[in-house]
């Protein structure tokens, strides 16, 4: 029964959806690919495999946070500081 994990998967989806609002290529682009990625695995039943996929999702969240931070940092640095500073 993957029911206990169902809640986690839905929570992961919602968190990723929220993060997608700031995606550089646009929210629509992100949402499409997010849905496709989750739908691709909708028939997985093995709890071990589901856990691994959830962990991969958490990893993507960390990557997006890093992307957003670097993008903002580099933009600020370019706008406010001399080239070699």
């Amino acid at each position: 029964m993957s029911n206990p994990l169902r809640g986690e998967v839905i929570r992961l989806y919602k968190n990723l959806l929220y993060l997608g609002r700031e995606y550089p290529k646009g929210n629509a682009y992100f949402r499409e690919r997010l849905k496709t990625a989750f739908m691709k695995n909708k028939d997985v039943t093995d709890p071990e495999k589901i856990r691994k996929l959830i962990d991969r999702g958490e990893f993507v969240i960390k990557e997006l946070e890093a992307l957003y931070f670097l993008r903002k940092y580099r933009a600020m640095k370019k706008r406010y500081y001399e080239p070699d500073h």
Partner: protein
């Protein structure tokens, strides 16, 4: 020392948005445009939350001045770890004319009222680039200030601040209470994820009016005109070095 830190956060047009000037040149288009917390204010909030996590201070209060929408910005600060928020209600013409002088008067009044030990602000806002609010707040309170901070260390009742200045770094030690303004390299702000935003809904945001603080919002500055920067001229491609020299001579550059 109450161990209370006030952090000022400003709602600005998102840094990634392409700014458009209004056709009447009275300002910039803000309707329907994405807004978010000023990047330097995010760094200020992060520093305050870090100090609380290190147990050097007890409470972080996030403050913003403006209309109803600034509550979003305060909520982001709460999601990052601030304990409670204060929304200073300013709208309409007053909000259009709100500048560093008025905001610093408000922050000074609140710092006294809340008996704050530290006021942390971003060094400047990316919309007006004033870089004045922190300095004015410190002057109004007659508190020491550590601006352009790239490192902040609380040591007892003093703060050691490393400042980014032209030509390098300056380390100063000031007595608390003090005002600090955050520079880019102070820290890496955490992202306000959905679970954190949900948890922050339980935290309180108090509403305050500038009149209650005895602050006069009249502005002594009037924006006369807003223009876009001049368009960049298209570049030219040349075939040889001699061509380049020729073109530069033509343009009177050499």
């Amino acid at each position: 020392m109450t161990g209370r830190v006030l952090v000022g956060v400003k709602r600005v047009i998102d840094y990634a948005v392409k700014i458009r000037v209004k056709p009447d040149h009275s300002g910039v288009v803000t309707d329907g445009v994405k807004h978010s917390m000023n990047p330097f204010c995010e760094i200020a909030v992060e520093e305050a939350v870090k100090l609380k996590e290190k147990k050097l201070i007890k409470e972080v209060v996030a403050i913003s001045c403006g209309p109803q929408q600034v509550q979003e910005t305060i909520r982001t600060a709460l999601a990052m770890g601030a304990d409670r928020g204060i929304h200073v209600e300013v709208s309409g013409k007053d909000y259009e004319n709100l500048g560093p002088l008025q905001v610093s008067k408000i922050l000074a009044a609140l710092a006294k009222k809340e008996e704050a030990s530290l006021v942390i602000l971003g060094k400047q806002a990316i919309d007006d680039d004033c870089n004045q609010t922190g300095q004015m707040t410190a002057a109004l309170l007659d508190w020491p200030q550590g601006t352009f901070a790239s490192e902040v260390a609380v040591e007892g009742d003093k703060v050691k601040i490393v400042r980014e200045i032209d030509g390098g770094l300056e380390t100063i030690k000031v007595n608390m209470p003090a005002v600090v303004t955050a520079d880019l390299r102070l820290n890496t702000p955490r992202y306000a994820t959905l679970p954190n935003i949900m948890k922050a809904k339980k935290k309180k945001i108090a509403n305050v009016k500038p009149q209650d603080l005895g602050v006069d919002l009249t502005s002594r500055v009037e924006v006369v005109r807003v223009d876009e920067p001049p368009q960049r001229q298209a570049g030219m491609k040349v075939e040889t070095v001699d061509d380049l020299v020729g073109k530069l001579k033509e343009a009177g550059r050499i």
